[in-house]
Amino acid sequence: MNEQNNILAFNSAISSLSSRYHKILDMLDDIYKKQISEIRFRCNKPISVTICNNSYFLKSDGTLTENHTECDITTSRDDIDDIFKVLCDYSVYAFQHEIINGFITIKGGHRAGICGTAVIHRGEITNIRDITSINLRIARQIYGASDYIVNNLIKDDAQSLLIVGAPSTGKTTIIRDLARNLSSGSVGRYYKICIIDERKEIASEYRGVIQNDFGPCCDVLSGYPKAIGIEIATRSLSPNIIICDEIGSDNEATALKGSVNAGIKIIATVHAGSKTELMKKTGIVPLIKAGVFDKIIFLNKSDNPCVIDKITEAGVLFD
């Protein structure tokens, strides 16, 4: 089932590309389609795809090669502009906030990272022009990715969890599956879940429809800044658990503390490759010290996503 879902996710991601690249990528064998996690377009360079953290290059006949000199297609400057326009659904204004943060979330929850030249006005980035590369990350819902956590940490009672991992270790995939598991009553009760989905990456809301499976008891605040979303959820939605991705700012920390003090459990993720890196996060360490999280889950940077390295009590992190 997961393999079929992976292929569907790949097909959904490439459907947002211009027709030329859609045709070439669609020719790829299903074996690759289900494994590809990223598609990278760079100006005047071959198209590369990432499979298990290794880069491969796309040929015009829809095959992959390990050697970039064997590639017969490159992405031109105009192609990059076309891809960008199509990804934006011909509506740059609608994605302006996301663009200045360096990404666009497209239909299906896939995220396109954007590299270009920053336009600065009064010290703030107001736009990105002359786009030089686009990295399309394929969002996947892996059923069962959180089963170990649910069966071992949440079976008896909900806990606040901080999931720590380097990029592409499966943090978002795990919290997506946690939301589904807990909202579907798979632990013996239906938890009221509220997802704060600032970048529309967790729930993949598109035109008012949540595109991932989150069970019957899940509410999604889509596009809300995390700090505001957490406050609104706490005040008006009375959730058992709030789930959010990539926390770190002071505002978010304050909002999270407020929710925990209101008796709500938190499941959040943070970018860090190890305990040492985590301890350097000035926005996170005070939260852990304040007892916002019960357990810290470290993910392994391996070829496969969603592999747990270790689980520690939040309190013992400072011993």
Partner: protein, 167 residues
């Protein structure tokens, strides 16, 4: 008897041609008025919802039963995206439409700026385009009032005059 019927027929035919010519001016006026209305709705939706342009246009034209271009857009599904669809409509509509070349250029202008800048830029472009459409609408209204009436009366009196000559 045949002579009288012929005279009546000529008179009615002339009056009909006059009304048809007058109607062309009226249709142009109505079409431009609908376009202005359409631009206002798109601008409002864009400001209020910040949704993607395809979604906004689909919503606006689905609720528009008056204008030709809305009807044309709903029926024209040959192109993939809404901007291509709009451009195709603007080009294909040239032979059939009652709009002038300048009016058609205003329709094309919409696809030239839409979706390409931030919200502030979009709203400014809307203001400029609406000004141009208003100017054309004003000309179209004057044409309808002056030339439309003139053609109608000219052909009516022409028909009557011709009948009198035949008699």
């Amino acid at each position: 008897m045949i002579k009288i019927l012929g005279i009546i027929f000529i008179t009615i035919a002339f009056i009909g041609v006059g009304f048809l010519l007058c109607e062309r001016y009226k249709k142009r006026m109505v079409e431009l008025s609908c376009y202005l209305d359409f631009l206002n709705k798109i601008e409002t939706e864009m400001r209020y919802t910040n949704a993607e342009i395809g979604r906004i246009i689909e919503f606006v034209i689905s609720n528009d039963d008056k204008s030709n271009f809305a009807l044309n857009m709903r029926e024209n599904h040959t192109s993939k995206n809404i901007i291509e669809k709009w451009q195709e409509f603007s080009v294909l509509g040239k032979n059939k439409s009652i709009l002038t070349e300048n009016d058609k250029q205003l329709f094309l202008n919409f696809s030239e700026f839409i979706g390409k800048t931030d919200l502030e830029g979009q709203l400014k472009s809307f203001t400029i385009l609406k000004e141009k459409v208003r100017a054309n609408l004003s000309h179209a209204t004057d044409d309808y009032k002056n030339k439309g009436n003139m053609y109608r009366q000219l052909f009516m009196f022409g028909g009557i005059g011709l009948s009198i000559i035949f008699i």
